[in-house]
Point group: C2
Chain length 213, copies 2
DNA sequence: TAACATATGTGAATTTAATAACATAAACGG
DNA sequence: CCGTTTATGTTATTAAATTCACATATGTTA
């Protein structure tokens, strides 16, 4: 098998293309060109074609791409032709927002449990979920086949929660705590840092000001 | 002036170094090496030095970096030696979580207003803030000198809100709606897409499974 | 004070990603 | 059925980012 490494930036864009295609499909658009996708998501047409080329030939020369088909292909590539069970670790404001975030359901993610260790939060309902004690995680993780954990706890608890996830068979972690977590190499982990992008903005605003002196 | 373009990845890491340095400082650490920073945030030592080199020489050969000093430098570079007033647009669950997110205050961001157009939300309190009607934005933006707007509204309202921000002098936008917004070139805009990173995880889990066949 | 250990700063080499350019294939019109 | 148009897929080119390697500077010890 020809195993060509796919750049993470390509996967990121694929996820964005995929959602754009879903929108086109909902709007009844049947055919789309790389140029239109590029325009819609803010990249170059060559980039779109190059990204898709990692995975095969999906278009028709002189015509473009069939929206429904390409949508399905992108979903398949991203592993979204199946449903994934998530656990949200932490039922604070961020955990709450993640539990109720529509975007996850739409893309086939199923929030199978919310966990916290704060007694005042345990038992509370979030939508049709009930906040569970952390101790319940092993049992529920097994029953619900939870392969992905989302960490939405304070920095001080993040490593401990990551350990709990790993110990109970979670294979991938999305970490919202602004700290580098220590996990075995075989665990997929990505961080989402809410203030980093804000600081890119302030950097650029300052930088621009400096350059116009 | 020598204007060397700074890669965005460098700025991203700088933000992460900066926070790591604050943590070291809180823990009473006074000196740190590029290797220790690298270890702490998960990059290579050469990367740390290269990143810092865009902005000057901050260390002492054979010794390392003074934690307090380097922390101040990184904050300065990121534009965080001043306070920035933000507006959170959208008082849904995500907007709520962002309003109460500690990480922003810690880094010098001041949430100067929360806005929504839903009458059932307007007037509600979030911490010491009161949700304001969207119509109040121009007045409050001017009074509070809001230069950064955070979009936490549904896709359907995102472009309209972006237009409102731009029209009222906002210079930078952090967009949580999973859609490419149209703004003038001089506006700094960055997107945070909560499901993209999850889909990188599912892609990798699937990819790994495919490779082990 | 000389030799050694340590860790920065940086130019060169390497790797990786993005862009451009173009050959190829499909559709259409006369 | 041939020429024209269009848009893909792919190769070549350019650009960018990362890693490497080492010269340089500092502190320490004998």
């Amino acid at each position: 098998m020809k195993t060509l490494r796919v750049p993470e930036a390509t996967v990121t864009r694929l996820s964005i293309y995929s959602r754009f295609l879903e929108r086109l499909d909902r709007n009844g658009v049947t055919t789309v060109s790389s140029g239109e996708i590029a325009e819609g998501v803010g990249v170059s047409p060559a980039q779109v074609r190059k990204d898709l080329a990692y995975f095969g030939e999906f278009g028709t020369r002189g015509v473009g791409y069939n929206v429904k088909d390409l949508m399905k292909y992108t979903l398949k590539i991203l592993g979204l032709d199946q449903s994934w069970s998530l656990a949200i670790m932490g039922a604070g404001n961020l955990g709450f927002a993640l539990c109720t975030y529509r975007g996850f359901n739409v893309r086939g993610f199923n929030i199978a449990g919310v966990f916290d260790n704060d007694p005042t939060r345990i038992g509370k309902r979030i939508g049709n979920l009930e906040v569970q004690a952390l101790e319940k995680f092993p049992e529920i993780a097994e029953r619900e086949n939870i392969r992905i954990g989302v960490i939405a706890v304070p920095i001080s608890a993040a490593q401990e929660v990551a350990d709990l996830l790993v110990k109970n068979g979670v294979e991938a972690i999305l970490n919202f705590a602004p700290v580098a977590l220590n996990v075995p190499d075989e665990i997929e982990i990505r961080n989402v840092d809410l203030s980093v992008k804000l600081e890119i903005l302030t950097f650029n605003l300052g930088f621009r000001a400096a350059q116009s002196l």
